[in-house]
């Protein structure tokens, strides 16, 4: 018995999942001995998982107040001697909520149902290179309730994180199928480096670079088609748990990649016991969640006449448009079907457990001729080869294929004047918008006839061996690979407007990324004098990534027959190829110590060597330390705690340093580029000269983060509350800086500048009603304030480029600030200046034009002197609220999520407010200034004034509240299940994005068109809109 007790005690210091999976055999050995000794009163029973009614193996059954106990066997059965009655049995298992049962006499064998401990307070949390009991944590780690992922059937788990975790901001870049959202944990640290968290999938660290899913751009396309987000290749149905490491004490073990937080994803593992086959399937429909209100044909024709200053459309024509208006949005958007199927097969015995699945997701896009299909296969095997040697294998395979719309298609749908029909009188597509001097093609023709396909294959696999050298000391070697293959095809047929000058345009692009990982760790775990619990970890890891790509474009085809299959037949084929690679070597170490689970200390250290940095600074060093204090374990506090029904109270404090080196490779080198010079009159010579200046000192962006947190629980864990306050300061930002031109170079990437993020985040879980009717509430609330502290000598960096969208980086302001002129209504006869050269609109300015504010008071309105901060993409706070109800066999969950105080710079709405009448406009433009409508809201229509200035007119309130998910489920009663020999069947119907409350006039306030570019946040370029959807599905387990 002493052995058993000792082992149970050690459960707390062993990495728990290892214990669960591999400690079982050992336990049974001991148990069988101890059961022979059983001669006293006995309780027999069976432990089952409540929902699936599957046996729980290895559940601990002990008597309250005593150290006596046992564990359930492979069938979930147990027997336990009792010295005397009454006795209170505590039944617990990792990942389940403990149950207390009182016995006054020996009874018949009992059945104990354990439910998933959704809040997982005492359960295991996956942290870097190991697991920890949540109660032992000193860092800030949030765990996502994966059950919430299941019914929403998202394309990617990333989308489902929105609002579920405090401190985590998720914004949508595009609603296109296969595109996914971006994640910011506690704000963005970096300006030009990456801001995305590190994803660790089954121990494999992946920095999600959208470029890996986008092999390059084709010629003659209309805008860009967003590539596939590599994270969409992970099937959310395969995910067992998601843990998000937020503070530096948790992330510093990931060193140079930890500054933006870490998202740890663990896929499903098999459990010993009965083999389980389950099927999850759903069908759904999606529709456009919000249409943009535009002028109809009559309104537009009237507007066009006003802009032209003459009656281009006669009144008869305008009248005829009453019944003859093209709604291009109706033509382009559709009700799209989705379906999702997954079969999971898992099981195993004490030695070997496995889990495998096959999945299919078919999702039509709400824009015609767009879709996303994903095929996934997964296998996970763990095996105990001998008493002290475990091996395991995880393999995730996926193939996704997507037909994409380009950004230009979406905007063209909005721009096309409603007087133009989709088809002309002969039934062929109208060619283009002939009212626009620069022309734009028929987007419906484009969407229907252009091929624009992207395929992504991903193999993510890892294998490990773990050997227990002496008791508590384990050596583990892991080898993994992440292989990504992206192939894109496109063909634009000759008859299209976009192909007129090119004569047919084909493109074939490939990108191959291989990413190899090797991790070697030693861990040691021990308890000294039953009070000092010590965990030690040390290791060496190395990772290598290589990407090769090629792009072949061809234009000028004789006909459309061969599309992209015969690029050589076109008149101008062009080819390009590329290579890039990086390596990372790391040494890591961690100490977790606690004294009687009352005082906690954790310290970690990582040294990272990155190929991407300068020769003098390849290595960076990232330490962290944190402290925890379980206040309620103190004698002096016990009475207070009892009196206020406080069942858990823990204080946490941490500091850590993390890094970021997400820059393209080779930036510290002096690279040469080729340039040509004519050699005579027919050929050219190739020269090579340096294009970049060497920076041997290029180093890490470094973030120092401080975190103070408190975990509280009341009423026997029925109310749980977590609050964290943090301060992050990032220095040595990687920014391109002007160097003196006398060097021969314009700029170089240097470590300059500082950014800070500070904020707090709250999470509240309550069980409001418990019993036959259950009601639980989970709430998250996050506040982050971001500020640029320094830009290395300059005050501001105005972000320019092909599309001026008004972003600025300014010292003292947050990243994502908008910059432009302020407006002050329209010019009236009274305030129109006599000297028109003082207005920014210059000659031709008239009454009814936009009046800008002269902020510096010099009597002139200029972009140089009168621009100011006109908005900010950063929200004041974000929140999520989930209410879950259970009554008998019904379950209902309602999830509301939102953002407050952020603004959107809507480039698309700016384009739809161009007063020249070349394109369609927002419906508000019907109320524009004319001689007879002098109190109009909008400026006068005219073709002369080129009003393309960034101003506050296009900054919109981006606050919203969204009914993100509502799910109603029904689990079939047991008597029916028994008849059909199923262990569980649940039917559900779920709705996503059903209702959004927002003042924003664009498609969706949850928008971030520039995706991973931190300097251009909160801009709406007119991305593929998000959908609302209704899904019905079934979960069946045999």
């Amino acid at each position: 018995m002493t052995k058993l007790v000792l082992f149970l005690g050690s459960q707390k210091r062993f990495p728990q999942f290892l214990f669960r999976k591999f400690g079982i055999t050992f336990l049974f050995g001991i148990l069988s001995i101890s059961s022979v000794l059983a001669q006293q009163l006995e309780i027999k029973g069976n432990v089952l998982e409540e929902e699936s009614k599957i046996a729980i193996i290895g559940a601990t059954i002990r008597i309250k107040g005593q150290k006596t106990g046992t564990v359930s066997n492979a069938q979930g059965n147990f027997q336990l001697k009792i010295k005397s009655f009454p006795a209170t049995l505590i039944v617990s298992s990792v990942g389940f909520r403990s149950q207390e049962l009182e016995f006054y006499e020996a009874t018949e064998p009992i059945t104990v149902y354990l439910t998933d401990d959704q809040n997982r307070l005492s359960s295991l949390v996956v942290v870097g290179y190991g697991t920890q009991k949540r109660s032992d944590l000193t860092g800030s780690v949030a765990s996502v309730q994966v059950s919430q992922l299941k019914d929403a059937a998202p394309t990617s788990f990333v989308d489902a994180l929105q609002g579920l975790v405090s401190g985590v901001q998720v914004t949508s870049t595009s609603g296109a199928p296969g595109a996914t959202s971006i994640v910011r944990i506690r704000g963005g640290n970096s300006i030009t480096g990456g801001n995305d968290p590190l994803y660790v999938i089954d121990g494999f660290p992946i920095y999600n670079d959208n470029k890996a899913g986008d092999a390059g751009s084709a010629t003659a396309t209309v805008g860009t088609a967003s590539g596939l987000n590599p994270l969409s290749s992970i099937n959310p149905g395969d995910i067992e748990s998601i843990d998000i490491l937020k503070d530096a004490s948790a992330t510093a073990i990931y060193g140079s990649r930890g500054a933006n937080g870490v998202v740890i994803i663990t896929t499903k593992k098999g459990k010993a016991g009965k083999s389980i086959v389950s099927y999850d399937g759903s069908f759904g429909t999606q529709t456009l969640s919000h249409k943009i209100d535009l002028l109809n044909a009559q309104q537009w024709a009237t507007y066009y006449n006003d802009a032209q200053g003459k009656a281009v459309f006669t009144q008869d024509q305008i009248n005829s448009y009453a019944t003859n208006s093209t709604d291009w949005q109706n033509a382009a958007f559709r009700t799209a079907a989705t379906q999702n199927h997954q079969i999971t097969f898992s099981g195993g015995n004490e030695k070997t457990q496995f889990s495998s699945s096959l999945g299919y997701l078919g999702q039509d896009g709400i824009v015609i001729n767009t879709d996303f299909k994903r095929y996934t296969g997964r296998i996970s095997v763990n095996s105990k080869l001998s008493t002290n040697f475990n091996v395991g294998l995880n393999l995730n395979e996926s193939y996704s294929t997507s037909n994409a719309a380009t950004t230009g298609n979406i905007t063209a749908i909005l721009y096309m004047p409603p007087v133009i029909p989709v088809y002309d009188a002969n039934g062929v597509y109208t060619l283009y918008n002939n009212y626009n001097t620069s022309g734009s093609g028929n987007p419906i023709a484009y969407l229907n006839t252009v091929t624009n396909q992207s395929n992504l294959q991903r193999t993510l696999g890892s294998a490990f061996g773990e050997y227990e050298i002496i008791k508590g000391l384990k050596a583990k070697v892991l080898i993994g690979a992440d292989l990504l293959t992206n192939r894109q095809y496109s063909y634009i047929p000759k008859p299209l407007y976009e192909s007129i000058s090119s004569g047919g345009s084909a493109s074939l692009r490939d990108k191959f990324t291989t990413n190899w990982l090797n991790e070697n760790t030693l861990s040691y775990s021990t308890t000294i004098n039953k009070l000092h619990n010590i965990d030690l970890l040390g290791g060496f890891t190395q990772q290598k990534s290589e990407t090769t790509g090629n792009v072949s474009n061809s234009t000028g085809f004789a006909n459309d027959a061969t599309e992209y299959y015969d690029l050589a037949s076109a008149s101008t084929p062009t080819v390009a190829s590329s290579y890039s690679g990086w390596t990372l070597e790391s040494f890591l170490g961690r100490l977790n110590y606690n004294y009687d689970h009352k005082y906690f200390l954790s310290a970690s250290f990582r040294a990272d060597g990155s190929s991407r940095l300068g020769a003098n600074n390849k290595w960076g060093y990232f330490p962290s330390a944190s402290f925890g204090w379980q206040l309620d374990k103190e004698a002096f506090f016990k009475n207070i705690a009892n009196s206020i029904k406080l069942s858990n109270s823990k204080l946490r404090l941490s500091y850590g340093r993390t890094g970021n080196s997400e820059i393209d490779p080779y930036q510290s080198l002096s690279l040469l580029s080729s340039n040509l010079y004519p050699n005579g009159s027919t050929s050219t010579n190739t020269g090579f000269s340096p294009i970049s200046i060497k920076n041997e000192n290029l180093k890490w962006e470094t973030t120092d983060q401080y975190d103070a947190g408190i975990d509280l629980a009341f009423f026997n864990q029925r109310i749980k509350f977590t609050a964290d306050f943090y301060y992050k300061r990032t220095h040595d930002l990687l920014i391109s800086k002007y160097v003196p031109y006398s060097s021969g170079f314009p700029v170089s990437l240097q470590n300059i500048g500082e950014v800070e993020n500070k904020g707090f985040e709250l999470a509240l879980n309550t069980e409001n009603i418990k019993g036959k009717f259950n009601w639980t509430t989970n709430a998250t609330f996050s506040v982050n304030r971001n500020k640029v502290l320094s830009l290395g000598g300059v005050d501001q960096i105005i972000i320019g480029g092909s599309t001026q969208v008004g972003n600025i980086i300014m010292v003292g302001k947050p990243l994502g600030a908008f910059y432009g002129l302020k407006t002050d209504g329209l010019y009236t006869a009274a305030n129109l200046p006599t000297d028109l050269s003082t207005t920014i609109l210059a000659s031709g300015t008239a009454v009814g034009d936009i009046k800008y504010k002269d902020l510096n008071g010099d009597g002139k309105i200029t972009t140089a002197a009168d621009q100011t901060i006109i908005g900010n993409a950063q929200p004041k706070f974000i929140f999520g609220l989930t209410n879950t109800f259970n009554y008998q066999n019904f379950d209902l969950s309602v999830f509301v999520q939102g953002s407050y105080g952020n603004q959107i710079y809507s480039y698309i709405l700016r384009q739809l407010q161009t007063p020249n009448g070349f394109n369609n406009s927002i419906v508000g433009f019907a109320d524009h200034y004319t001689a007879t409508n002098t109190t109009a809201q909008y400026e006068r229509a005219n073709t002369a004034i080129n009003n393309s200035t960034n101003s506050d007119l296009y900054v919109y309130d981006g606050s919203y509240v969204r009914l993100k998910t509502v799910t109603l489920g029904y689990t079939l009663p047991k008597n029916i299940l028994t008849k059909i020999k199923a262990s569980n069947i649940r039917l559900y119907v779920s709705g996503q994005n059903l209702l959004t409350v927002s003042k924003y006039l664009g498609f969706d306030p949850d928008v971030n068109s520039y995706s991973q570019d931190a300097s251009r946040q909160g801009v709406d370029l007119g991305s593929y809109p998000t959908a609302k959807s209704i899904t019905g599905g079934v979960n069946i387990t045999f």
Binding site: V477, Y579, N675, P678, V739, Y741, S743, F745
Partner: protein, 527 residues
Amino acid sequence: MKKLIYILILTTTIVSCVSLEEDPRSKISSENFYKTESDASAAVTAVYSKLTHNYTSVAYGLNNSGFPFLNRTPEITYGSASDDYVTGPSAPDPDFRANCGLYTNSSNAKVLELWRQNWEIINDANIAIYHIPKITGDTATLNNYVREAKFLRALGYFYAVRLWGKIPLLTTPTESLSDNLTPAQADTSAIYAQIIKDFTDATALPNKRNTYHATSGAAHAFLLKVALTRRDWNEVVKQYNIINGLGLYAVSANYKDIFDPSKKDKEEHIFDAYFLADNTTGGLGNTNLMAKDNPPPYGYVKNGVKVNVKGGENPTANVTIRQYFKPNDQRTSFTFIDSVKATSTATTYIVSAHYNKWNPITWTPSLTSFQNSGVNIPVIRYAEVVLSYVEAQNELNNKAEAVTVFNNFRAKRSVTGKPLPKIISSVDKDNFRDSIFLERRIDFASENSVRWFDLVRQNGSGTSLIYKAIPQLIDPVLGNPTDYWCQTKAANFALSLAKNPKKFLLWPIPLTELQANPNLVQNPGWE
């Protein structure tokens, strides 16, 4: 313990299988270049390429790809400030207008780009000069590459010293941030000494013309031009005699031939910025942007199709120069276009005078674009050698020789039967000087390397910039003054002369550069 040892062995074998050294593969890094003769050739070719192509701007998204160093940059910086140009009627670029209107300042983005390109050429030449001698190969070939690089470095410094006066004098390459990025300015005498040394070294190059390559004759021609700039008249005469002694050069009998892409490297050519007609539009390779820039304002009508709707931001020729062109001067009809004709309607549109010199349609009538004509831009040609010699002899009071050579030159430029009037030998020295400068102005019109620098040195004393007159332009159709920017040019010039006669003798050192390099001092008048 045995197994522990196995594991440790396994671990250590896996250790260090990745390297932290970067291997770019698809790009060449400076570490693995400059090893062979062909690398040496490429290093020098790159410097030539920078004269006409603007790769760095494109790579860094500076949005300045439209004007390389000797291709269009002069036209929108110091060239437009000369009296060769006023901006087109609707030039939208404020920096361009400021240069043309003579109210520019040290924040001018176009001047900054000119400065940047100048230094890129100097640094690239320094890189070649530094690395090539370390290559093992045919010494004679490699030495010539170094000489060509020295020629180009001297060319770069010659432009820079004339534009900005005191500038840093760098003769070793800057390749790393750990090199000195904030050099101080050197005296112009030291800079000229380096220029003369480099050009002198380059005179050891072969004489024979070899497409774009610098030759011994080109080096001598620039030594002559340096001497002219420094008013070292005897040196001008000396270099003129050396150049004539080579027996390679002559004034072209047909002025048009100088620009004919099918007649490159003929008698009048000494050193050209090279282009290639490749029938493509745009791109980084071979666009003579001067050709793109000088279409008439009301649309170049060809086959009934207007090729270019407006003059846009393009510079137009100043009418004052148009009036100096005599009908019996063979340069007149080639240099200007005064009217365009719509072939479909046979309507003739009278336009204000525009430069026709670079018009590719002259040579390739099938073109529908003004680009890629393959017309070279002369950097120095024999006519300049001749006129410099005339100027030197006039200054040395050898008037007879000066007049003879000058009249011979004029005879070549005349249309047969109606020759241009001869200068008589009794002409007064100052008037003759004016005639020489006018002749230069006519012959080198819109060849940007000439007129601005002539304006700076015209009065000889170097105390102020000389404009003779900047009159209004009259719209040939409407009869109204159209040259809004020309008016400001005249007004601003008068203003700046009154305030600071030295202003514009040197251009401002760009503000960005002053901020990045605290060791620099701004030029007088621009503080």
